[in-house]
């Protein structure tokens, strides 16, 4: 209630009186999940370097990124989908699907690069299917992508059967896993991840299209009334997700020089985990690419640290789950306290927002 405009003060000096932001900069920067996650990651690395033997080696970071590259790649477009309030659980199966197509076409004598293109296009088509079922037919994306999750995993397994296609040119597979330059702590794929991340970050945060994406997540109806091509946008995102996932499939196949139907099994939940850990609201409308990536990196670092500390993967999955819960619980408590101040109305607003909790 800053500008007392009763009696019609001149518009421009009224304009001058509006603050740009309700909360001071430090609160806006520090009190957000992205920051918390990034800080947590850095802290973890520091602790690991000082306490975990063998951690402080380029090889650690190299392998860390190599192991998490598929997840980091896939989560980027899925982040946008979640911001619109939808969800795509089929990405893991798309990895297997494109891996199968890639392997089979290559085995059939198609040149590697062409095979890759075919596989990626295949993944794009899965995206089209998801998108059409969600937008044109109007089915909930959660249901649709659970279905396609089963479907395309099935097709991948069916296509390849017991065969594992392995004979990929070793120079390529070597290149894929190689460090950026001799002794570099990061592999080649880092470039790809960063490139994709920047492309999508710009798309999401600095284009009208991206503004539309957020608007859809905030209120699809309002977005539609504001000239956002809601369904077109959602369809586009599903296709992008399909393309990136299948590209990941090709990469994954080469990284482990092996095309089998089970490639990428269970990735979908890892992807969603990283994204929500990165502060993207599963209700849509809020989130950043940076945060989602940070979430992915944090999980990767956790795994690496625990493995080097000789802790078994059973404990690792507990830690992963606990971290995820902890992150939202902290946010929840923060919200709980601020709701105390901001009254129930916003609590109800939260309730309202909850409406979209599962409009996915």
């Amino acid at each position: 209630m800053s500008a007392d405009t009763a009696g019609g003060t001149a518009a421009d000096n009224a304009a001058a009186q509006y603050r740009r932001h309700g909360r001071p900069l430090w609160r806006r920067l520090l009190l957000r999940t992205e920051t918390a996650i990034i800080i947590a990651t850095i802290l973890l690395i520091v602790i690991a370097i000082t306490t975990v033997p063998y951690f402080a080696q380029p090889y650690t970071y190299l392998t860390m990124i190599l192991n998490s590259a598929p997840i980091l790649l896939m989560l980027i477009p899925v982040t946008l989908i979640i911001i619109t309030g939808d969800i795509d659980l089929s990405v893991g199966s798309v990895v297997g699907f494109s891996s199968a197509i890639f392997g089979l076409t290559y085995q059939a004598g198609v040149p590697l690069s062409l095979a890759a293109v075919i596989a990626i296009v295949g993944g794009g088509l899965v995206g089209v299917l998801n998108g059409v079922l969600v937008t044109v037919v109007g089915l909930p994306s959660l249901a649709v992508t659970i279905g396609t999750l089963a479907l395309f995993r099935g097709i991948a397994v069916g296509l390849l059967g017991t065969t594992a296609i392995t004979g990929f040119p070793s120079d390529v597979t070597k290149f894929v896993g190689a460090p950026l330059f001799v002794g570099a702590p990061v592999p080649m794929v880092t470039v790809a991840i960063i490139a994709v991340a920047i492309a999508f970050a710009v798309l999401l945060h600095f284009t009208p299209f991206g503004r539309g994406v957020f608007a859809i997540g905030l209120s699809a109806e309002t977005a539609a009334f504001s000239g956002v091509r809601v369904n077109r946008t959602r369809l586009t995102l599903f296709i992008l997700s399909g393309l990136v996932a299948s590209a990941t499939g090709v990469y994954y196949t080469l990284q482990y020089s092996n095309a089998i139907g089970t490639n990428g099994f269970g990735f979908e939940l890892q992807v969603v985990t990283a994204i929500v850990l990165g502060g993207v609201s599963i209700w849509g409308g809020r989130g950043t690419i940076l945060g989602a990536l940070a979430g992915g990196v944090l999980i990767a670092t956790l795994n690496k640290t625990l493995q080097l500390a000789g802790i078994g993967s059973d404990t690792i999955s507990i830690v992963t789950g606990a971290t995820l819960i902890f992150s939202v619980v902290v946010a929840g408590i923060a919200g709980f306290l601020s709701r105390r101040r901001r009254s129930k109305a916003s609590a109800i607003a939260a309730g309202v927002e909850k409406h979209r909790a599962l409009h996915v």
């Binding site: 269970g266 802790i311 993967s313 059973d314 404990t315």
Partner: protein, 319 residues
């Protein structure tokens, strides 16, 4: 599952020796828990610093991080049963480049110094087919194969060998179908049901996978109508099969001693580290109580022939 209820890894700091990391296909798998037990025993004898780590799932690349860790923590040797030989190859190579000796057991991979084979592929195929053929007798009949994971390299090798063998030596036997239980109880159970119901004159099922053979036996014991009609054999764990063998549902099934497998793998690893063997054909080394072994063609060491269990002995084994 995991190594011990206490946590994913067990480290015993014994003096001298080298350090050995054993990476099973997945933690909590009964078969590999047994082999790891043997490996640990051997490690203690040899005074190796022993650790067993591995994934909880059997995804193709799930073992990779543990290989990387082994390299980083400067292990002297790795003994691995690869879920996906191709997927772990690059990192195993890296391990070898880093001077880590790589022993493959249970499942072979191209990137290793030596492969400890529980029994030759042909040996296993021969064993199972002989059991079945003996049961079916001269008039033979229709059989089915119920395997485990569709991508398990060793299972596929055995299945192929059996198919070839039957073609070659047993014209009276026809294989109607190869189904996959995917290492999941429920799937294996339903697959067994499917085979018995959908193949009218099914005489026998060969299940070269511990989960599959157990569930096949289980379905049989639940379903008297097929008892005596369908004969089930395969590779199973005595501890799991005991009930079915004692109740007469199952007459015979094969396996080797997984504890010995791990035991031998560990001795081989140690021999490699000590330099007593290099993994080339003709090398010989002694594996404690198991006696002397010779490295065969392609750097393969064979534990021994398949062991057949029946009423008389099934109770005597802990694994």
């Amino acid at each position: 599952g995991c190594a011990a209820p206490t946590g994913g890894s067990t480290g015993t700091d014994a003096a001298g020796g080298g350090s050995l990391t054993v990476i099973p296909k997945s933690l909590g798998n009964k078969y590999f828990e047994a082999s790891d037990k043997g490996a640990k025993a051997a490690a203690d004898e040899l005074g190796l610093d022993f650790s067993e780590v591995g994934p909880t799932s059997t995804g193709s690349a799930d073992q990779v991080p543990f290989i990387q860790t082994a390299i980083q923590t400067g292990q002297k040797a790795i003994a691995i049963a690869a879920n996906d030989p191709a997927a772990v190859c690059n990192d195993l190579k890296a391990a070898q480049d880093a001077g880590v000796k790589v022993v493959a057991f249970d499942t072979d991979t191209d990137c290793r110094d030596i492969f400890i084979n529980q029994a030759t592929v042909d040996g296993i195929a021969q064993g199972l087919v002989d059991l079945t053929a003996a049961h079916l007798g001269a008039e033979g009949g229709t059989i089915a194969i119920l395997s485990g994971g569709a991508n398990a390299a060793n299972l596929n090798a055995w299945v192929n060998a059996m198919t070839a063998l039957i073609k070659a030596e047993h014209p009276e036997i026809t294989i109607a179908q190869v189904a996959y239980g995917e290492d999941v109880d429920q799937k294996a159970y339903q697959a067994a049901q499917g085979l018995m119901q959908s193949i009218p004159d099914l005489k026998a099922i060969i299940a070269p996978d511990t989960v599959s053979v157990k569930e096949a036996a289980h379905y049989l014991s639940d379903t008297p109508q097929f008892q005596g009609k369908v004969w089930v054999t395969g590779l199973g764990l005595p501890s799991e099969m005991a009930t079915y063998v004692t109740s007469g549902i199952i007459e015979q099934f094969g396996l080797w001693n997984p504890e010995d497998l791990g035991f031998l793998a560990t001795y081989a690893a140690d021999a490699l580290v000590q330099g007593t063997i290099t993994g080339k054909e003709g090398d010989t080394f002694t594996a404690g109580k198991l006696g002397e072994f010779t490295v065969g063609a392609g750097g393969e060491v064979v534990l021994g022939p398949m062991f057949v269990f029946d009423k008389s002995n099934v109770g005597d084994f802990s694994f």
